[in-house]
């Protein structure tokens, strides 16, 4: 083991050595620089590994042969070693990245880079408060030098502003240090820690030290100077400035907070949260990529500072949590800055150029996921543990604000990612520099490796060892294969997993597994129609299925939440693939993450901080009538309802489903929505009736379900776009299911279960059918179609069967659903929402009939005369679904009888009697086979009659209407199907006013205008920034004093 002092000695020695070289020996100078940085990183990494594995114990490195506090000592512990590694590696990799700039400026610039890295490491290692100041000044000066590596002339002004503020910081720091010394008689941090300090006298001294160190973290709003650096500096340096400097400064602040004692922690919490939220909001308005990243850096460091403020309750896990967030941020931010160097333009949508290299898109996605704290990266595990600790100590406000901040950050990061994937590439692609690309990939690899390490160190299961996830990730490697090969693998994987796992499933799991896993395999059959390699389709698809597979089997809250996040991420990328998917994917991910955070908060509160928390424990919670139980119920229910797109949380759904690719729509509609229902099942099964302020929460759910069913159907009838119509119909259908579940009686649950199966089948089928039509006609607008019945007979059959099943008329399974449903309603005494539900039945018929009527009947359009049937592979699953529907209609008992018994075990009753093929309830009985027979006879009779009456109908040309010599401005408005339900719209249009959309829009707008107003304070004047910094200090001082007295 090489003593850590050699990190410092090597950095300095090499820097001095460079002076001996001639000005033009640039290659040797660079070699020395890289060698020294490599050595420094190696020493740090060696220690990190040794300390983590227990091969070495933390050591104090004494200097000058005297004990501290009489001489300066350094400390090498686990945290120090890892942070020093991050710093060293960032410096080393940046050196390669900065190579052209370094070669241009020569050995002096290299020396500055070496000293910078050395000083940052010193900042982390030192245990002496004045030594901290010296390293800090070195960092300031080196920053002043490295800013000049930029080609941007504005960097000079940015560097000067930085120096001005640094002067103020060092002035406060020095005064603080000397009075701290006077009070303690020592400059050693551990000695200072031994004497706790109050807010007065010596406390003021430590306050000055703390505030100076926090200013170095660029707290919002005293941070205009830092943003200018982020924007103007060379991206290679910005990476160091954000990743290495931010990390080191944060650790320095952490050391002093640890020494100052717990009384000071609220200061870190408040200022940290202020930064996290404030810079998040401001980032919303940024259009420059690097400035946006700057705001994100400040926000993330603020987040970690807030975590520092919680160190009193985190105990052992403090390093795991704070370190997880800090290191992930460092890697991701460095990676993003390095990426920004590959992009020429500075607008956010200029990143579209990255699409030229899928690997870089993957890198971008990974970095975004790291920043937002998604699995499988360390931030995810850290956030999970953090939330539990906060909930366990009743710091719910902090918990809520952190989640809010994370959501805002997800907002602007995912918006940006959407730009990169969907916006037009404006400039000719210049080609990516190989060395810079390699540097980005180093960060990418490091991020995934850290994800593995953190997962392994977690008390919870490591996600990167979960088989389904590994299987999904394997498709990343398999991307070069043709799509059909990958599709076979994917289907085999799904079926194989089901076959392997199903013996262990209870009936509830079984139903969902059949729908999600086997159902997923059936839909994937449709994917065979895609040619080529279809890059970027299989990894997210399989990630979604991996999440679903894990969700079904989840035993603990962690497993459930991790699976939930995984399926959310996978489906986000899938939705984003849609042609116009960008805005919808964004609102999908925001609602989903919002929902996921509600679930996280719910689980954290439920567990009261104790992990692992088995899902069954929810029941104990409800039975013990813990005061927090109804809140847990609300949080979880809201979280699940974002996925089922219940009314109020539905606005993401229509666009996301309608714009998705042909085979993706059925996945996200038929399958993904069921994840929400699964969650609600678990929730209601365990917690049952919960009362909040005297209101039974399940009744609220009943209302939400009924309203979703009613309004969803109403909105569907006014759609012209066939896929949108189906999407709105999903809102309605899932409303039924929610309604049934929330009735909290046996038949209601059975009904919901039936909806799970039915809705999967007919919605998948209809989406595939409409998708097939779209493939041929290239439009989704129904009034542009007509008469396709003869050209696409198979598709017609599946649409016909689909809408019969769905509208709940006999003889298909939809009727069974209705029948059960009326039984359920009769068993409950909520009559008012019942009326709504009753009304949505006929409404559903209104919109469904349009699918047949407008698309397949009527006259064929001229341009459609040569159309063929939908592609073979799109028809195959549809036909499977038709068969399944028929089978399910005749034999519902096959699937439902077992579930019925299972549900009975919860309610302890048996309202349905299964005898042969008939089912009997207290209100009557249902014999599917008999009904099928009756209906068959009626149908054939009516059809024959119609055919006979229709034999001499006269054909006219479309749009052939004379408007007294006037050409209609929009000829399609004369189509019979245009605005078909106009009279209804007149009557009931007020019910479908986009109030919810307006509501969420107003929230977004107000955030944006706040951001726009606030950022005017960043005038760009360095002096104004200095005044703001001073104001920040004085205001914090006054508030802190006020709070203390």
């Amino acid at each position: 083991m090489v003593s850590a002092i050699f990190i410092i000695a090597a950095g300095l020695g090499a820097a001095f050595l460079l002076g001996l070289l001639k000005e033009d020996q640039k290659a040797s100078a660079f070699a020395i620089t890289v060698a020294a940085l490599g050595f420094m990183s190696w020493v740090a990494y060696d220690w990190a590994v040794a300390l983590t594995t227990g091969r070495a114990a933390p050591v104090d490195i004494l200097t000058a042969g005297a004990e501290p506090p009489f001489a300066i000592n350094l400390r090498m512990g686990v945290a120090e070693a890892w942070l020093a590694t991050v710093i060293g590696v960032t410096g080393l990799v940046s050196a390669f990245y900065l190579r052209p700039a370094l070669m241009r400026l020569g050995r002096r610039a290299m020396a500055v880079l070496l000293v910078m890295t050395m000083a940052l490491t010193g900042l982390v290692l030192t245990r002496d408060i004045f030594n901290l100041f010296v390293f800090f000044e070195l960092v300031v000066i080196a920053t002043g030098g490295l800013v000049l590596l930029s080609d941007d002339e504005r960097a000079v002004a940015a560097g000067f502003k930085y120096l001005v503020v640094s002067q103020i910081i060092s002035l406060l720091l020095l005064i603080g240090i000397i009075f701290t010394y006077h009070a303690n008689g020592s400059l050693n941090i551990d000695d200072i820690a031994a004497t706790p300090m109050m807010f007065t006298g010596a406390g003021l001294a430590i306050f000055l030290v703390l505030i100076a160190l926090m200013l170095e973290l660029k707290p919002f709003p005293a941070n205009g100077w830092a943003l200018d650096i982020y924007e103007a500096a060379h991206p290679g340096f910005a990476a160091i400035f954000s990743a290495a400097s931010g990390t080191a400064a944060l650790y320095a602040a952490d050391k002093i907070f640890a020494a100052a004692g717990p009384d000071w922690l609220p200061l870190a919490t408040v200022l940290g949260l202020l930064s996290f939220l404030g810079s998040g909001v401001l980032a919303l308005k940024q259009t420059n990529d690097r400035r946006l990243l700057g705001y994100s850096s400040i926000g993330q460091i603020g987040f970690v500072l807030a975590v520092v403020g919680q160190r009193d309750i985190l105990g052992e896990s403090y390093l795991y949590i704070a370190g997880g967030i800090l290191i992930t941020h460092a890697v991701a931010k460095a990676g993003l800055y390095w990426l920004s160097g590959l992009v020429k333009g500075r607008g956010l949508d200029d990143w579209a150029v990255l699409r030229a290299n899928p690997l870089l898109v993957f890198a971008f996605a990974s970095f975004v996921a790291m920043l937002v704290g998604l699995p499988p990266f360390p931030g995810f595990y850290a956030k999970w543990d953090l939330m539990h600790a906060l909930a366990g100590s009743d710091r719910l406000v902090v918990l809520g604000l952190i989640l809010l901040g994370a959501l805002i950050e997800a907002g602007y990061m995912f918006r940006w990612f959407g730009y990169a994937l969907k916006r037009e590439v404006r400039e000719a692609f210049p080609g990516f520099a190989t060395d810079k690309t390699a540097v980005v990939l180093v960060a990418l690899a490091a991020g995934w490796a850290l994800g593995f390490v953190w997962g392994a160190a977690s008390a919870n299961p490591n996600l990167l060892t979960a088989l389904p996830i590994l299987f999904a990730l394997a498709f990343l490697v398999l991307e070069p294969l043709p799509a059909w090969a990958k599709n076979i693998l994917a289907i085999a994987g799904l079926v194989g997993w089901f076959v392997w796992r199903y013996p262990g499933y209870d009936p509830l799991q079984m139903i969902f597994a059949v729908v999600m896993i086997l159902g997923g395999a059936v839909i994937l059959l449709a994917s065979f129609y895609e040619k080529g390699r279809r890059i970027g389709f299989y990894p997210p698809t399989m990630l979604m299925y991996a999440g679903l597979a894990l969700l079904i089997e989840a035993q603990t809250s962690f497993e459930f939440f991790a699976a939930w996040e995984v399926l959310t991420i996978g489906s986000y990328f899938l939705i984003l693939r849609g042609r116009m998917g960008e805005p919808h994917a964004l609102s999908y991910i925001l609602f989903s993450l919002g929902g996921a955070f509600a679930i996280l908060a719910g689980f954290a509160v439920a567990s009261m901080g104790v992990q692992p928390f088995a899902l069954d424990n929810l029941k104990a919670l409800a039975e013990a009538a813990v005061p927090s139980a109804p809140w847990v119920f609300v949080l979880l229910a809201v979280g699940f309802m974002t996925k089922t797109a219940s009314i109020g949380l539905h606005i993401w759904l229509p666009g996301a489903h309608a714009e998705a690719e042909t085979d993706v729509s059925p996945m996200v509609s038929g399958i993904l929505l069921k994840a929400g229902l699964f969650g609600l099942f678990i929730l209601l099964m365990n917690m049952g009736h919960q009362h909040l302020w005297g209101v039974d929460l399940t009744e609220v759910l009943v209302w939400i379900g009924a309203l979703s069913a009613f309004l969803g159907a109403l909105m569907a009838i006014f759609q012209e776009d066939a896929k949108r119509l189906l999407a709105y119909s999903s809102i309605s259908q899932l409303g039924y299911a929610l309604f049934g579940l929330a009735l909290m009686n046996h038949v209601g649950w059975l009904l919901a279960m039936m909806f799970v199966i039915n809705h999967y089948i007919y919605k998948s089928m209809l989406f595939l059918a409409v998708g097939g039509v779209y493939k041929r006609t290239h439009t989704k607008l129904m009034y542009k179609m007509g008469g396709l019945i003869t050209l696409m007979p198979f598709t017609f059959v599946s649409v016909l069967v689909g809408i019969i099943a769905m509208s709940g008329v006999p003889p298909l399974s939809g009727f069974g659903g209705r029948w059960l449903f009326y039984n359920a309603i009769m068993a409950s005494d909520l009559r008012l929402p019942m009326v709504l539900i009753f009304m949505s039945g006929p409404i559903a018929f209104l919109y469904l009939f349009r699918l047949i009527h407008t698309i397949f009947l009527g006259q064929l359009k001229d341009e459609h005369r040569r159309l063929k049937e939908a592609p073979f592979w799109l028809v195959v699953p549809q036909m499977i679904f038709v068969l399944a529907l028929l089978a399910f209609a005749v034999l519902p008992g096959m699937a439902l009888q077992k579930v019925d018994g299972y549900i009975g075990s919860f309610f302890g009753d048996e309202p349905l009697i299964w005898s042969g093929r008939a089912i009997t309830s207290t209100f009557g009985h249902w014999n599917p086979v008999a009904i099928m027979g009756v209906i068959g006879v009626v149908f054939v009779t009516v059809l024959a009659l119609l055919l006979w009456m229709n034999h001499n109908a006269q054909k006219v040309k479309q749009f052939n209407i004379v408007f007294s010599a006037e050409r209609p401005f929009k000829p399609q408005t004369t189509h019979f199907a245009w605005n078909f339900f106009a009279p209804y719209r007149k009557a009931m249009g007020f019910l479908v006013m986009p109030l919810v959309t307006t509501f969420w829009g107003a929230i977004t707008d107000s955030l944006h205008s706040t951001a726009d107003f606030t950022r005017r304070f960043y005038t760009g004047n360095g002096q104004t920034y200095a005044v703001q910094v001073l104001f920040f200090v004085v205001a914090t001082y006054l508030i802190a004093m006020g709070g203390a007295s």
Binding site: F130, A157, V164, I177, D228, A1026
Partner: protein, 119 residues
């Protein structure tokens, strides 16, 4: 008495220097303000280490080694100030170099003219 006077002077210098740095638009005058402020900081630092009735921390014939602990003042702040002074010079030199670069860019020393980066 003596350290209080010195400390008051130091603090006054800091505030005056900062005032200059915050109000003068001329970049050179801002830097000048900071040098005055850092002189003030140095004065405060030294005055914190002063102890009445004692001598400089150098052992010679007047202050034998054995008596040192009872006769000399606290040497630590002085050592810190030495470092601070040199660092201060470094930062000042750097800021001056920056000032010159800025002047070359816009032919002006007015800080309010360098605001292309904002918001």
């Amino acid at each position: 008495m003596l350290p209080t006077i010195a400390m008051a002077t130091g603090f006054a210098l800091i505030l005056m220097g900062l005032y200059g740095a915050l109000t003068h638009r001329n970049i050179l005058r801002m830097i000048l303000g900071f040098t005055i402020a850092s002189t003030g900081v140095n004065v405060v630092l030294v005055s914190v280490g002063y102890m009445p009735g004692r001598t400089a921390p150098i052992m010679d014939s007047a202050v034998p080694v054995a008596d040192a602990a009872a006769r000399v003042i606290d040497p630590v702040p002085q050592a810190l100030v030495l470092t601070a002074i040199v660092i201060g010079l470094g930062v000042t030199a750097l800021m001056l170099a920056y000032a010159y670069r800025l002047f070359r860019i816009r032919h002006s020393l007015d800080i309010s003219k360098f605001t292309e980066l904002k918001w």
